[in-house]
Symmetry: C2
Subunit: 344 residues, 2 copies
DNA sequence: ATTTAGCACTCGTTATGAAAGAGTGCTAAC
DNA sequence: GTTAGCACTCTTTCATAACGAGTGCTAAAT
């Protein structure tokens, strides 16, 4: 099943042309390309073979050829060269970090926006996995006798807050004491381990010093066990409306419903491993994305994977360009974040 | 230009029918309705008059009639009876407040979701105007030598946080002192007045007690002057795709672009006064909304207007139902919020 | 003076067929 | 192995006709 050089050349040109025009590619128009030195009849023969091998398809008996998912896969795996960014694009990306706002979430959100603008596809960025952030400070602000807000600040500057309730009988000074002890003992612990650590390391001390131990302990552990939300940011949600393959209302409906739902797509993205990953069409296992490809890249602080940035486009997406962009942005993002938060 | 009773009846039936079916209404099908006791020929005459007066329109020379914006306006102003909610709907709405989560924003967000589900249109809720909330507590958490997070908690349980920078030379105990003074003096002040109050009431004391007065004062006032974002929540953003009037890709594109942009629509909504307001089609002054109506209602704590909830639908929207719903939800929301936050 | 029946007319929708155009597969010649 | 040539297929476009829903107008009925 190895392809000859000529078949590879033809496949490449078909994919490139189709990505550019969204029109099926015929043998005659192929033969006019300058890199093609043989006749349309030869091309027809080769195309028949490529079709039999499953790399290209016809939309109907007498139409030109269109890359199949297998064809795109071959293209992505073997033929594609990540596009270098030009000067102005590099500048645009760097502008993400230009403002002196060092909030992790803001940077991430802005990345999503710029990514969608540069690609004119839809971008999705999985916010940093807050659960792995380490506790910097916990504070409790009472609102009235039986309600208070717990505020959790992480080392990356992320702020989580949760309201909780307790009986009015609880002594305010008790709450204060508890917060002090928690801060002393839990600073630096990843959020996800907070609850375990409380039981293991702090419970005994708390019990000694605090009158309403049972009640408060119940409230605080319940509050801390709510999983820190891993946020999803979108850019260009409606960009897909401009792609010619989505001139069909039904396709739009199912795709938009899928994007709007957010959960499904964030799961799809989350499970991707480090580095660049390309999922083409049905490889995504989601019927709403049959005509879409999803390219993901991870970003990190140091060696620790933090989150994922992704681009959703039609299968006929500019893989080369998008991969180049994602490559650059994710590396730059990791570099900046590492500098910001690594050595503190 | 007064309409006869019969003309009003015909207009009403046309609007009702068109809202239900989305099809132009002809004289023959009208004459079959049981509330219509005269012939199709009579109806045709009346319809010709109504058309001349501008209440109804034809889509083409030999089509049935469709309400014009003026027709909808008359319907909304004179003919419409807000629909009462049935038992199960009331229950659904009440479920917004069932969970013991008293966070204002969560309640508001959930309202948007339920509103869009009950109407199958798009709902928009303008979050409470945080700027008018009163300061409960301000806290500052240092992240490293030159960065800290300012956390602002309001009396409604809303938490704002902002990162800011200062020279490493600033003494940490200075920061602590400042926070204490700010809390002592500024508690209860609406966020929007914080900056002014700092200068008026706290500056003198701060200058006395704090070494790095100038630098810190600069940082803190700059931080507080960033306007607290008034959040916009959407529900059912893609619901409009299911409306038959949006079978046209171009209409979808411009509408979705408008919804996605969020700013435009939130401005459109913000300026509406207390109570229920209906804007029909071009009354919205926005070409993307030519085929849409926007119904808004305000919610309050006590007498103080807090925010707005709105429904965006086609001009052919079920005004009676939506107005009934908005009426109920906004009243209920106001009641609950008033109970929660008024008497503390 | 209203109301209604009747009818010619308009316009959108649907079905049908013809012509054009793009592209293929196959055969035979190079 | 490559290419020219040609019949064939399928989509797209356009014109045409038939049908149906609905109107406006006239004249008769109430």
């Amino acid at each position: 099943m190895l392809l000859t050089d000529r078949q590879v050349l033809i496949l490449q040109v078909i994919v490139d042309d189709f990505i550019r025009t969204a029109q099926p590619v015929g043998s005659r128009s192929l033969s006019k390309k300058e890199e093609i030195l043989f006749s349309s009849a030869t091309i027809r023969n080769e195309m028949a073979d490529l079709e039999e091998l499953g790399f290209i398809e016809k939309t109907h008996t007498s139409s030109g050829r269109v890359p199949s998912e297998k064809g795109y896969r071959y293209y992505v795996d073997h033929l594609l060269l990540p596009q270098k960014l030009d000067r102005s694009e590099i500048q645009t990306v760097r502008s993400i970090f230009a403002e002196q706002i060092y909030e992790l979430e803001k940077i991430v959100q802005k990345s999503a926006k710029i990514l969608s603008e540069l690609t004119s596809y839809t971008s999705i960025v999985l916010g940093p996995a807050v659960n792995d952030n380490k506790l910097k400070k916990i504070q409790i602000v009472p609102l009235n006798q039986d309600t208070a807000i717990a505020i959790i600040v992480t080392d990356t500057g992320h702020v989580e807050n949760r309201m909780f309730h307790f009986p009015a009988s609880v002594d305010p000074s008790d709450v204060e004491k508890m917060v002090n002890i928690l801060n002393e003992r839990l600073s630096g612990i990843p959020l996800v381990h907070l609850n375990a650590s409380i039981y293991k390391e702090v419970a005994a001390i708390l019990r000694q010093h605090i009158k309403s131990y049972d009640v408060l302990m119940g409230s605080i552990t319940e509050t801390l066990s709510i999983p820190a939300s891993e946020k999803v940011f979108f850019g260009g949600k409606t960009n897909m409306l401009n792609q010619p393959e989505f001139n069909d209302i039904d396709k739009i409906r199912s795709l938009m419903a899928m994007i709007e739902q957010e959960d499904g797509i964030s799961q799809l993205i989350r499970k991707n491993p480090k580095g660049i990953n390309v999922k083409i069409g049905r490889e995504n296992n989601n019927s709403a994305m049959d005509n879409c490809s999803l390219i993901t890249a991870t970003y990190s602080i140091g060696d620790e994977k933090l989150g994922t940035i992704a681009v959703l486009g039609p299968t006929r997406m500019e893989y080369s360009r998008v991969i180049g962009l994602l490559d650059f942005i994710s590396a730059d993002l990791s570099k900046v974040l590492t500098n910001l938060y690594q050595n503190k």
